[in-house]
Amino acid sequence: MDNIREDILTTIEKNSRIDINELAIRLGVEETEVANALAAMESEGIICGYHTMIDWDKTSIEKVSALIEVRVTPQREEGFDRIAERIYNYPEVTSVYLISGGYDLLVSIEGKSLKEVSQFVSEKLSTLDTVISTATHFILKRYKDHGTIMNTRTEDGREKVSP
């Protein structure tokens, strides 16, 4: 991967709202070069979306999240892909990973209440015929997410002027 692409990605990974003009100045290249690289990486699927990091706990909106370990029976010819697809198509599922270790899929899910999440697991997920077992872990507190520490200090501890 060329340097300019890597520089763009590492910069917008932390701040996707940065404007193209500013990005060009910071990287020391022409604005069109940045615009072209962004467009190309979007169409190649390297950039898959521009999302917002929200600490829902600080709002009055109730959200419940859980991580679910799922053991499944892989299917002939399709491996895990077919069952993964059946799971990730549910809109309440926010991520699905195939992982190594004691179980197969790690599913994260978001709902409005404990009841809603539990219902999803017992009624939708566990009843899929290739699912052998599930273990649901409700998230109690989010310390760090996507590289962002949720309750981080912001004050500058330095002296205001120093040599």
Binding site: T11, I25, R26, L27, R158, E159, K160, S162, P163
Partner: protein
């Protein structure tokens, strides 16, 4: 009561930075923002802090040897060889100090006889001149020029040399200008130094923060290692200012004498910091790289902004400062900085804090987040409109 104070100390003028610091402190206004600091905004990378904590948990709370942990000296020599292609013996040519600052002080003390002349290119960091005076040396100031991008030229050096000249201070990458010396610049200066049989004190504390080609140490230039004291440390590269840890490498006989001063005055550098520094050198390359990239983006942004406002600003390739000119506004650096502080609540340091030839310039630090820099540049823009 008779005069209790040393005349030498009393006659040293207080740092220009201090004066500005006092004005800011006196204002005590939470609205004041600053581009005035000379230290990184990053926290020390966690794995380095963790290693310091771990050393405390294990009870490593005693003095180390005077020269510092052998393990650390070895890592330093490996690092200097790997990064800058200079070879030193960790046993006899390396001393761990309390920041680069101590190395500057004891290096001068080990080399100077009263009356010797020390060549100091300015603008530069504030400690060389007073430390030289404390040893009884005569500081000889070379006023670097904006037209040379504040590099030291062979001609400027040649002009400053007298039969009494002993040491040349080489403070590059430079605080406050951000200037660097590239290989060809160093080769030209080295020829003069060798011809006149001088020593060099090369303060390379910002070596990792260069944004053009990789930093070149003057010790790497043929014939120079035996006449160079190479000073570096952990403060800038690894964001470890508060740990107070630096080092100096040089000829065995000089390091031996410096170790003597260090042993009587300091005993040893902080033990916790030394253990953390071993981790920094072993596993910190990526952290340095990441911080350098962040600084580089801010540097480009600031140079662009100053030029956009219409303030002359040469492109600095080192440290984390830009040094824009304010000459077209018909104010002194001090007036400009004071009014900027009072009217727009933005603290910057007047160039004169780093030597008289800093007149007409400001030191702007980019050891701040892009968001902070944007806010500050907005205030400079407003200020420039009103004058």
């Amino acid at each position: 009561m008779r005069n209790q104070l040393s005349d030498t100390i009393v006659n040293i003028k207080p740092s220009g930075i201090r004066k500005f610091f006092d004005i800011v402190a006196e204002m005590n206004d939470p609205e004041v923002i600053s581009l005035g600091v000379g230290e990184p905004d990053f926290d020390t990378p966690w794995h380095i802090r963790d290693e310091g904590i771990y050393s405390l948990e294990k009870g490593k709370t005693f003095y180390t040897s005077n020269s510092g942990l052998m393990e650390l000296r070895t890592e330093i020599c490996n690092y200097l060889s790997r990064r800058f292609n200079v070879q030193y013996d960790p046993r006899k040519q390396t001393l761990i100090t309390v920041g680069g600052s101590e190395a500057i002080d004891i290096g001068l003390r080990a080399l100077i006889n009263p009356g010797d002349e020390v060549i100091i290119p300015q603008p530069c960091y504030v400690s060389y001149e007073p430390c030289a005076i404390l040893t009884g040396a005569k500081p000889v100031i070379v006023n670097l020029k904006a037209e040379n991008e504040f590099r030291l030229t062979a001609e400027e050096l040649e002009e400053a040399i007298t039969p009494k000249t002993k040491i040349v201070i080489l403070p590059f990458p430079n605080n406050p200008t951000g200037a660097i010396m590239e290989r060809s610049d160093l080769e030209a200066v080295a020829r003069v130094i060798i011809e006149h049989d001088l020593m060099v004190m090369s303060d390379e504390i910002y070596a990792e923060l260069t944004y053009k080609d990789k930093h070149v140490s003057i010790a790497e230039i043929p014939g120079m290692q035996e006449r160079t004291l190479l000073i570096n440390g952990f403060s800038k590269a690894y964001a470890m200012t508060g740990w107070r840890l630096g080092y100096v490498c040089g000829p065995e006989d000089i390091i031996a004498q410096m170790t003597k001063i260090h042993q009587f005055a300091i005993m040893c550098a902080p033990t916790t910091s030394q253990y953390a520094a071993v981790e920094a050198l072993r596993n910190g390359d990526e952290d340095v790289d990441e911080m350098r990239r962040a600084y580089d983006q801010r540097r480009r942004y600031l140079v662009h902004e100053f030029r956009d406002i219409g303030m002359d600003c040469f492109e600095p390739f080192g440290a984390f400062y830009v040094f824009p000119s304010i000459q077209r506004f018909g104010m002194t650096s001090d007036e400009f900085a004071t009014r900027l502080l009072k009217e727009q609540k933005l603290a910057v340091v007047p160039g004169t804090a780093f030597g008289d030839c800093g007149e007409g310039f400001l030191r702007i630090s980019y050891a701040y987040s892009i968001e902070s820099l944007k806010k500050a540049m907005g205030r400079i823009r407003e200020f420039v409109k009103t004058i």
